[in-house]
């Protein structure tokens, strides 16, 4: 028996489990009695501190989108973010380099609450194509990766599942909330005009680097650029939740302007069975 058949069989058995009507009615009667006996809590308007707290939570949704919408764009947008209002002279040179990007690729590791959750490989072809390959799990890096193709110009995406050879299209157009729209974040990040922290970045692959760090809405982006060429070599994006707990982190090594095969961005998904989400 195939493993997928086995799973389907188990799921059907699971769904067949139903509480009896008597059991459900008794549970509902006890629930209503409890609700009737329980006092309703006061519902004061949110205080200032709670509002700030909620604002922080909303801000932390930035990486949530990036994880959900396209991990690929995490680092990419972070880089384009830097392409906004640069103020530091050396940083401005880095921004100039970033404006010359034709392709970008990186391998990275995602962390959530301090734990590595997945590996990813990202390919970006200017101006709008992004491909992300997700490892199946941290403890199984050799299995078939799930692949996510996105065209930010058309708002079309495709999830490729090499195991069952299934492809699943999805839209992420303007109907979505800002947090779900890659272009929204791209434009928002381009408007950045804040301060840039600059430090000696030490050696990376034998090259002396400078570290540039920016922070906005609880998301901190650190980028290391080679002193000689000004090309960025590494990026770390982190987001903190309440009590400064780091809830999200992407750490990635970057490669620019290497030719990428058009096959990487082939939305026709040859060999895949293309389905619909719903």
């Amino acid at each position: 028996m195939k493993s997928t058949d086995s799973l389907e069989q188990h799921v059907q058995q699971f769904k067949a489990q139903q509480p009896s009507d008597v059991m459900t009615q008794a549970a509902m009667a006890r629930l209503q009695a409890r609700l009737s006996a329980e006092p309703m809590a006061e519902s004061p308007h949110l205080g200032l501190w709670q509002q700030i707290n909620q604002w922080i939570k909303r801000s932390v949704r930035i990486p949530t989108w990036q994880v959900g919408g396209s991990l690929a764009t995490v680092g990419l947008i972070a880089l384009l973010y830097l392409g906004g209002g640069a103020s530091h002279p050396a940083f401005a040179e880095v921004v100039e380099k970033l404006k010359q990007i034709s392709t970008l690729q990186y391998t990275g590791t995602m962390y959530s609450n301090g734990q590595a959750t997945m590996k990813l490989r990202v390919y970006y072809q200017a101006p709008s194509l992004v491909r992300t390959e997700f490892s199946p799990a941290m403890d199984n890096l050799d299995g078939p990766a799930t692949i996510n193709l996105m065209d930010t110009a058309s708002g079309k995406g495709l999830i490729l599942m090499p195991g069952p050879m299934m492809a699943l299209p999805f839209d992420f157009g303007h109907q979505d909330s800002p947090e779900d729209d890659p272009l929204y974040w791209l434009e928002a990040l381009k408007q950045y005009q804040g301060e840039v922290v600059t430090r000696d970045g030490g050696l990376i692959d034998g090259q002396a680097t400078t570290l540039y760090r920016i922070e906005q809405s609880g998301v901190r982006t650190s980028i290391w650029a080679a002193n000689d060429s000004q090309w960025p070599l590494k990026v770390i994006v982190t987001a903190s939740g309440e009590k400064d707990q780091e809830v999200f982190k992407l750490e990635a090594d970057l490669t620019f302007n290497q030719p990428l095969s058009p096959e990487l961005f082939d939305f026709s998904a040859p060999g895949y069975h293309v389905g619909q989400p719903d």
Binding site: S6, K15, Q17, Q32
Partner: protein, 184 residues
């Protein structure tokens, strides 16, 4: 819906309570625990009404909440069972006794299958487990799941695929491991 009142919560309980109870029961196979989940869901509405101001789809929201609480309980129960098994393993077995499960073999087989799936679910991440249960047990659409869990439709698809792969893998493994129980 305007601000939650006691009457409104009672109405929601009537409308959505049975579905929440069924969702919890399927996961836990324990009416008492499922009822605990049911009460917990609606008592939260009473105790923190402002927290639910933005809810647009109450049936989906409450079922998701119930499923999440049931998953938490399932994990806790799994940990307890593992701890108990560990303790039992350390006890010397009485002479001549084997751990032969009682009951008709066919029912036992189905029951064992269900326990396999429950055990496998507890080994998924919280998000994978939620997405899998909401999709396959509650039959929510990708969009509904995305809205309830505050993630993108894209991530729902990716997570579901990962969950299915991991479950299929575990269930296949457990079939081999369970071969000694097959009836000849």
């Amino acid at each position: 819906m305007p601000q939650l009142t006691k009457a409104a919560i009672a109405g929601l309980a009537d409308e959505c309570g049975p579905r929440v109870f069924r969702a919890a029961y399927r996961l836990l196979k324990d009416p008492i625990l499922a009822e605990d989940v049911l009460q917990e869901v609606f008592l939260k509405l009473l105790r923190q009404p402002r927290q639910f101001d933005g809810v647009k789809n109450w049936p989906a929201y409450l079922t998701t909440m119930g499923t999440s609480l049931a998953i938490d309980l399932l994990r806790q129960r799994r940990h307890q069972l593992l701890a108990e098994e560990y303790q039992e393993d350390r006890q010397p077995a009485p002479d001549g006794q084997t751990a032969e499960p009682p009951g008709p073999m066919q029912a036992l087989s189905v029951s064992r299958d269900l326990e396999k799936l429950r055990a496998a679910l507890t080994r998924l991440s919280q998000l994978e487990c939620q997405v899998f249960c909401l999709r396959h047990l509650e039959e929510f659409s990708y969009k509904e799941i995305a809205a309830q869990l505050d993630i993108s439709v894209n991530l729902v698809g990716v997570t579901l695929n990962r969950a299915q792969s991991r479950l299929s893998e575990q269930l296949t493994e457990s079939q081999f491991l369970g071969a000694v129980y097959e009836i000849n």
